[in-house]
């Protein structure tokens, strides 16, 4: 399979994945195009892998995390602390009323640290296992579980499989 054939077959999935990761379609275009440029340079080797799509998703996650790391250095307000403050404030309100608002969902997602958000997207959008997520993020499966737990707490996510927690 050539690079162009791969891109044509996987573009919709990669675009959805990239949009979910970034939460911004323009940033998603940048991150995905950067990742695909990297992939194109190494396509001969990547195409020989068992699951080139999984590898490309990994490249996409790495590119996204690199981008967020650079953006983080340019920001003055740490998002983690904002999330904590938001969570404390929200605790006194009715959780169901807050999350019903779509904008609030987006706000909570945006408040997630990049690693946690990547873990959430890979788990709930791409349906990947802890091990696959760990491979994509370059961390252990235990760390992935920790990321997911913290993310669910921030999102006050009640998952269909019952693993969700509420703050």
């Amino acid at each position: 399979m050539t690079f162009d054939e791969f891109v044509r077959a996987e573009m919709s999935t990669l675009a959805r994945f990239s949009g979910a990761l970034t939460g911004d379609r323009y940033l998603a275009e940048d991150v995905l195009s950067d990742a695909l440029v990297k992939v194109a340079r190494r396509w001969r080797r990547i195409s020989a892998l068992d699951d080139p799509a999984a590898y490309v998703r990994r490249v996409l996650v790495t590119t996204y995390l690199d981008d967020r790391r650079k953006a983080q250095r340019r920001r003055t307000a740490p998002t983690d602390e904002i999330a904590i403050l938001e969570r404390s404030a929200d605790a006194v309100r009715d959780t169901a009323d807050v999350v019903a608002d779509r904008a609030e969902v987006a706000r909570l997602l945006a408040a997630l640290p990049p690693q946690q958000k990547a873990a959430v997207v890979l788990r709930y959008l791409m349906d990947e296992s802890d091990e696959q997520i760990a491979d994509a993020l370059g961390c252990s499966a235990g760390t992935v579980r920790s990321h997911l737990s913290r993310a669910r707490a921030t999102l006050r996510l009640v998952a269909a499989d019952g693993e969700g927690v509420t703050a």
Binding site: V7, M11, S12, A15, R16, S18, G19, A20, T22, G23, D24, R25, Y26, A28, E29, D30, L32, S33, D34, L36, V37, A40, R41, V99, R102, V105, A106, L108, L109, V120, V121, Y124, L125, L155, R156, L157, V158, A159, A160
Partner: protein
């Protein structure tokens, strides 16, 4: 928040695939351009390094080294410098010209040393052609081998003193290259047996007082002096390796040529195809005076 809300929110920001591919192509093109620029820069750097490395060994018409084959092609007397006594050998009937083997690559400094050790003199002065010539070898058509010159204003730089007013012999158009008996046979391709001559006759010379078997003596191995520079070329089998020099050319190059009894017969240098090098007379005198 439930899972559906989460998935709905995650799916809200899908990028336009067409825009993504446009950006991919643009970035790949930019990367290729950067690669070309980098390659071009590397090529320039490599060329500069090669030039720096090779330039010292390339002699643009100048004999700064004698070890490089590239330089050898441009050196005036590369492989053609006659031993000081070689000019006295024409008595054998072959002359000192025509054979590259008669010229060994001996720089001027060593040539002067060898000449002085052999009892020769090194002079600067003026030579006036008398019109007399030594007969050539009849077997070679009778072409003259030597032309008589009266020396004047002589300064002896090294070796036994040479008096002004004395007569010396200059190797002329040897007959070595004239087996067909065409007479004056010195050619641009075999000029070793000939001598260049300045318009006013000023010269630098190694004087061999008694060439063994030579029909006449002493014999001059000379180079013309023009405007304070000694003009060296294959004529006389000179090698100026290690001396400061500048390529010599221009209109002056046409005013002297192979020494003949009659100056009007001198050939213009433009037809000879031999590179000429001007070395300051002071530098040559310094080399000669060191002995």
């Amino acid at each position: 928040m439930n899972l559906d809300q989460l998935l709905d929110s995650l799916a809200e920001h899908d990028p336009n695939p067409y825009h993504v591919m446009t950006k991919v192509e643009r970035k790949r093109r930019a990367a290729r351009n950067r690669l070309y620029v980098a390659s071009g820069g590397l090529a320039v750097v490599a060329a500069a390094i090669a030039a720096i490395v090779l330039l010292p060994s390339i002699n643009f018409g100048g004999p700064t080294t004698s070890s490089s084959s590239a330089a050898g092609a441009a050196e005036p007397n590369s492989g053609r410098v006659a031993a000081p006594g070689a000019v006295s050998e024409p008595a054998s009937g072959t002359g000192s010209s025509g054979s590259a083997a008669s010229c060994a690559a001996v720089p001027l400094r060593q040539a002067i040393t060898a000449a002085v050790q052999a009892g020769d003199s090194v002079i600067v002065g003026y030579g006036t052609q008398t019109g007399a010539s030594a007969p050539g070898n009849p077997a070679q058509g009778g072409a003259p081998l030597y032309y008589a010159v009266t020396l004047g204003s002589v300064r002896t730089l090294a070796g036994p003193a040479v008096a002004s007013g004395s007569t010396a012999w200059v190797p002329g158009a040897a007959s070595a290259a004239a087996p067909s008996g065409t007479g004056s046979a010195g050619t641009a391709s075999t000029p070793e047996g000939e001598a260049l001559w300045a318009p006013d006759g000023e010269l630098f010379a190694i004087v061999s007082p008694a060439g063994a078997g030579a029909p006449r003596s002493p014999v001059l191995r000379s180079a013309p002096v023009i405007n304070g520079n000694v003009i060296f070329s294959s004529y006389g089998c000179w090698d100026v390796t290690g001396l400061p020099f500048t390529p010599y050319g221009g209109s002056s190059a046409r005013v002297f040529g192979p020494a003949h009894p009659n100056g009007s017969q001198n050939r213009p240098l433009a037809t000879l195809g031999e590179p000429l090098y001007a070395v300051p007379l002071a530098a040559v005198e310094a080399v000669a005076s060191g002995h």
